[in-house]
Subunit: 392 residues, 2 copies
């Protein structure tokens, strides 16, 4: 469900040979404050350059295309991004400075600008409060299902909505440059009518991204186009949240939930995935060490192959933990897979049952401190290789 | 060919269910100076602890088993390693302090000590100047062929030999703690009769490891048992090399060649590999940045899948370069695959030919400085997953 004041659309403009939807538009009838985080990859796509220029302006619309990343396309790419954004602005009767933009698809191929330009009228005409599925479909690439999560919140007596739409299945190891930490193609658009001050909007986005998109990995490959946007048009008419009190807590919990659910949907849709894996590192010295350990395991091909084979191969977990170079005592580890203990104070418990079901929870207790981190990933299957070797 | 004074053997002791050879022994009839480097993994196998204790002593023998890593086996593992080494020493009429040891195989399973003890007599009786193939076979695990490289050098009129034997196919991303840099299971034993001083022996080993084993990756997974040894019994009777003059240069070039050839053999035997990939990063600001960029590409699953599919997917190379977070100018890159130009000053050249043959050379010129680094890796194929998911 879209929050008040927003309309979206999604159509096919012919960028994709399959004729599937490939052009999406978000529009707000009133000015939005916007916050965004972008990939830490040194190579950044043209739409990201445009967004970084406009992000502090009043935002009215966001145009997204799939099928072409407009990345590594040089000056031509920047000029194409500008031309498209300008035409959308004109059609919507807003300014270029009110526009944001995102692209996902193949790298290094010139944007098929004319196809997009020919279809801007249709995209704008199609805008509707009800076409959220069209928009969510138009931003997909190798994804097998659209990813949407909405919640309704009560902010001091006013009803507000947070609605998120995301895409991503491969090249997923987002490291979005949040204020605190520098870490696929994933794209995420969060729309809300709840009013916040700009500093709190930025804080809330950074925090939510750290525990969601910056805590997942499908294949350990960081994309050039990863972007997460949070738009806020204040049409819920709540008293603007401008301090870290109860209202902010309610908003933040809601936002974290929407982000986390979308991040999990991306892992569930991971290319070739047959298992959904949760890695919990507990009792670490600090969160940074716990996160480092969790990702060292999540990005280990040997671990991911073992899980594909349904084998609780704790040796590979311990080898990956050791490779992470964090501090731990190798004689005092507790390890559980799906709640079955495999190590207790590093003593090996005879438990050679195969892993059952699609969900796999690895819980590794370091017994070193009080911090924890949770990362989600998927297994590595022959289908991942098929998708990424035979795409021509 | 073994250098003067060395004998080796390799037999089956029943550690491996397949009854393949699994116990190897190296013996020198006179005292050796020894140098060694071990994995940077925080979890280190029991034999590594024993070796770190003995490495500065006069060394006479090195016992190796395959089929069991004696890793994550706690105090029992250390005690088992000691017992085995002690019995070998006794049989050879040397001291425990003269012994080195290495193990490779499954992690976290108690060492089948009794089987080894029952076969020490046979292993010692089998020692011979000619059984290098037996030894090279006894140290293998998932390898498909033994890995040996020998050269003969002329050191100031004396004939000397450097002979190397290695193993490794999976869990290959060695980061051996050399003096300068901290970075599978690979094992490597280099024997020479050429005499060097201890400081030069250590320097030569560290340098050779950096450009060989610390510059390869099969699957990005660092092992707990990686070890490289260099034994030097001085029986070539050359004037001991104790300064960095011409003799040292001859030795070092020879040693680098033996190490590099063995490292390449490991990549050639990479689990499931169908392509042998060389990644050259040129004109980088410094060697550390070039190495970081090369490994970011070498460890990218998306890149490895594309090469398996014989597609010169330069977009994935550029995305991996960007993810490495080194400094470069994205508008001034030159890229070649098997000498065919794909990018010239970042301009995309139309060249969509499939990659032909087993050898793939990626040459990426950053145009930022004068440094370079070369890394070897292999592609990612469905067979890698089969080997690592269906091993039970």
């Amino acid at each position: 469900m879209l929050p008040k004041g927003y309309k979206v659309s999604g159509i096919s403009s012919g960028i994709k040979k399959s004729k599937k939807k490939d052009l999406g538009l978000i529009y707000s009838s009133s000015d939005c404050l916007a916050a965004a985080v972008f990939t830490a990859n040194k190579v950044k796509a043209a739409p990201i350059v445009l967004c970084k220029r406009n992000i502090k302006n009043k935002i009215r619309a966001l145009i997204v295309n799939s099928g072409n990343a407009n990345c590594f396309t040089g000056k031509q790419g920047l000029s194409d991004a500008n031309t498209v954004a300008k035409e959308v602005a004109k059609e919507l009767k807003v300014k270029l400075s009110n526009m944001l933009m995102a692209s996902t698809g193949i790298i290094g191929v010139k944007m098929p600008k004319q196809r997009i330009l020919n279809n801007i009228g249709r995209t704008v005409s199609a805008l509707s409060k009800k076409r959220i599925n069209d928009f969510a479909s138009a931003i997909l690439t190798t994804d097998t299902f659209p990813k949407i999560k909405s919640i309704t919140l009560n902010i001091a007596g006013k009803r507000g909505v947070i609605c998120g739409i995301a895409k991503g299945a491969g090249m997923i190891y987002p490291n979005l440059e949040t204020s605190s930490v520098k870490h696929a193609t994933m794209l995420c658009f969060i729309l809300t009518d709840i009013g916040l001050s700009r500093p709190l909007l930025n804080n809330a986005l950074n925090e939510a991204v750290e525990v969601s998109f910056n805590s997942i990995s499908v294949d350990g490959c960081m994309s050039t186009n990863d972007s997460a946007f949070l738009l806020c048009n204040r049409m819920a008419k709540n008293k603007i949240i401008n301090k870290e009190g109860k209202d902010y807590q309610v908003f933040k919990r809601g936002l974290n939930l929407v982000f986390s659910e979308l991040a999990k949907k991306i892992v569930l849709d991971g290319e070739g995935a047959t298992k959904f894996i949760t890695i919990k590192i507990e009792k670490a010295r600090d969160c940074a060490q716990a996160k480092k350990a969790a990702f060292s395991i999540a990005n280990s091909n040997l671990f991911k192959c073992a899980i594909y084979g349904a084998d609780p191969n704790w040796g590979r977990i311990i080898a990956a933990l050791g490779a992470s170079a964090i501090n731990f005592n190798e004689n005092n580890l507790d390890l559980y897979i799906n709640r079955k203990p495999l190590l207790k104070k590093s003593k090996i418990l005879k438990n050679k049952d195969r892993i059952k079901g699609k969900n796999v929870e690895v819980r590794l207790v370091l017994n070193q401190g009080k911090s924890m981190w949770v990362v989600h990933t998927c297994d590595l299957s022959p289908k991942y290789i098929k998708i990424n070797a035979n795409y021509n």
